[in-house]
């Protein structure tokens, strides 16, 4: 309801009412309390204990169980492993698909097989199709792409002149493509074929989904896909698959983005009330600055090589349909001490957040995000607002079959 939203946004600085309900205890204190650890605790390695630099586990009305130590990431999924999930005719069973998702979540994908595997992750290829069926379907998709591309390519000048929405979106695409990842080698030259392909795909997507059209941010997502696919048609259909997953973010009302930011706020409030309160005092707890993170999945915060790893984790939908929220929380948690400088004001906090771009340690944050997600997922009665965010019950951490 808008009322509570407003309360959160314009929260008076002085209130202490929440403080009494909150008991803040450190992780170590809790662990001996042996609350409700659902999965087996891992043996902490020396490097893991380093990470518990500031693990405040908080009981907001007794909601959060103890945080398990972060699990080290696994090596990337290899070609042999990927092949082992496939039947002789090329199908991947439902059971293996689940294993595959868990596996990718835990270690991402070896670069040499990304081009193939992303087509599955992004829903362009069906897991349950045989190789023969898939080849047929791919051919059909190629034809469909050509048809849609021809549609805008064959507009007569008068048609374009009478079609304001198309002109507006086409211009936006053209203006944005020449501003997309130009510092990346692949897109650097004005005459690079990849820039042309970005344009073609985005314009064709307008024809595919005229209601959504082109929205700023899309070119940022597409460029990474194109860098992997190196093929216009495949990139288009992978992009379609991605949009099927996340089109809500781009809808005109922006309600979904507002909901996500609100959910992130609630997650932070539950997981780190002290920092949440601090942000409130600095007029920053609306977390609008996470908008860019959440709209384009941290595209502006990481290099391509890291983004691929990160997005694969998101696309598995393994622990959460909206895992980026937990990843955002991991960044905030990692940086909260740096931001709790008494001299910091609103501007400094924003400047700090902005300065994080391209300065973040991906692996560590991924490990942290999993810990946070599992911790939240182990709560017995999650607030209704957070319930859709975690799979219940959470699947256990991935282990290799050989390692008992």
């Amino acid at each position: 309801p808008p009322d509570s939203e407003q309360l959160l946004e314009r929260r008076p600085v002085e209130t202490n009412d929440e403080e009494e309900e909150i008991s803040t205890i450190t992780c170590k204190d809790i662990e001996t309390g042996g609350n409700t650890a659902k999965s087996k605790p891992d043996v902490a390695t020396p490097e893991q204990s380093l990470i518990s630099d500031f693990q405040i586990v908080t009981n907001l009305q007794g909601q959060l169980p103890p945080r398990l130590p972060p699990r080290p990431r696994l090596p990337p999924l290899s070609r042999e492993e990927w092949e082992s999930y496939r039947e002789i005719d090329g199908r991947v069973s439902k059971e293996n698909e689940e294993k595959f998702r868990a596996r990718v979540f835990a270690g991402s994908i070896d670069h040499s097989i990304r081009r193939e595997v992303w087509k599955y992750l992004l829903g362009y290829f069906r897991f349950d199709a045989t190789d023969i069926e898939r080849m047929e379907e791919q051919k059909a998709k190629e034809r469909e792409y050509e048809v849609m591309k021809k549609q805008w390519e064959s507009f007569l000048p008068q048609q374009e002149a009478n079609f304001a929405r198309w002109r507006e979106l086409r211009n936006l695409v053209e203006k944005d493509v020449i501003r997309t990842d130009r510092d990346v080698e692949l897109f650097h030259s004005v005459s690079s074929p990849q820039l042309k392909q970005l344009q073609n795909i985005l314009k064709t997507y307008i024809m595919y989904n005229m209601d959504l059209g082109y929205v700023q941010g899309m070119s940022d997502l597409l460029s990474v896909i194109l860098a992997i696919m190196e093929n216009e048609v495949d990139s288009f259909w992978c992009f379609v698959g991605l949009m099927d997953m996340i089109h809500d973010r781009f809808e005109i009302t922006q309600e979904f983005m507002r909901l996500r930011i609100k959910q992130l706020r609630t997650l932070l409030k539950v997981s780190d009330p002290e920092f949440y309160k601090y942000l409130g005092e600095k007029d920053s707890n609306n977390l609008y600055l996470s908008f860019r993170w959440l709209l384009v999945d941290f595209k502006r915060e990481f290099q391509f090589s890291d983004l691929m790893i990160l997005w694969e984790v998101f696309w598995t939908l393994h622990l959460s349909p909206d895992y980026p929220l937990f990843f955002a929380l991991a960044i905030i948690e990692k940086e909260r001490n740096n931001m709790m400088d008494p001299k910091f004001d609103f501007s400094d906090i924003i400047a700090h957040i902005n300065g994080l771009s391209k300065n973040l340690q991906l692996e560590e944050l991924l490990e942290k995000a999993e810990s946070i997600c599992r911790q939240v997922g182990a709560v017995d009665h999650l607030p209704e607002e957070l319930q859709p965010l975690v799979r219940q019950p959470l699947p256990p951490p991935f282990t290799f079959p050989s390692a008992k």
Binding site: R10, E14, K175, R179, I252, R292, F346
Partner: protein, 219 residues
């Protein structure tokens, strides 16, 4: 208290840039704040931000400059920031007619979401592309006159008139603040809600103070 000495500026001003996509909002800010111009631009997603310390008439001004995405879609997000801005720079591209036509739409947005009496400047950017010009200086000036706002033609690339435009806006805000007609931050709507809150919780109300450096959340 130590607070006053911690602060290295006299005033905090919040500015916001709006206007159609790709008119050069981000480039204007980069030119003003960092004196740089990059030829590999990126579009602004949602909202972005830069800080600039700036001196006018011996007053150190810390400028918080909000950069907004041009696509209409993100207006619901950027509207939140209109409320806080004391000064708004509305930008169009002199080589693209539609960006000029949309100025009235942006002015309406400012009226809908901005503070009453917010200072506005109109900028026609990209005068370095004179040969592609579609909107004459006279047209731009006329529109600005109609709305009683100052007008500048600029080039972020060639560094023409950029500092002048920002300075003019800062001057206007400073004059308003010093005359007691405005505070460093806050809008009529925020002020109203603050007053309402204080009515509910009888704490000493932070009464409107003419200056802006007396501490409190407004700094």
């Amino acid at each position: 208290m130590a607070r006053a000495t911690d602060k290295k500026y006299d005033h905090l001003f919040q500015l916001l840039l709006c206007g159609d996509s790709s008119v050069g909002k981000t480039c204007l800010i980069s030119r003003f704040a960092d004196n740089e111009f990059r030829h590999t631009h990126i579009n602004t997603i949602g909202i972005d931000f830069k800080l600039k310390l700036f001196t006018i008439r011996d007053k150190k001004i810390r400028m918080q400059i909000w950069d907004t995405a041009g696509q209409e879609r993100y207006e619901t997000l950027t509207a939140q920031y209109y409320r806080k801005a004391q000064g708004i720079i509305l930008v169009y591209d002199i080589t693209r007619e539609e960006t000029f036509r949309n100025v009235t739409k942006w002015l309406r947005n400012i009226e809908d979401h901005g503070v009453k009496g917010v200072k506005i400047i109109l900028i026609g950017n990209k005068v370095d592309l004179e040969s592609e010009r579609k909107i004459s200086t006279r047209h731009g000036q006329k529109l600005a006159n109609q709305h009683n706002i100052k007008f500048f033609e600029t080039s972020a690339w060639k560094d023409i008139n950029v500092t002048e435009a920002f300075t003019e806006l800062a001057e206007q805000i400073l004059a308003k603040v010093e005359s007691g007609g405005g505070r460093d931050r806050g809008s009529s709507s925020i002020r109203e809600s603050a007053i309402k809150l204080h009515e509910q919780q009888p704490t000493p109300a932070t009464k409107s103070h003419g200056g802006c450096c007396s501490g409190g959340s407004s700094n």
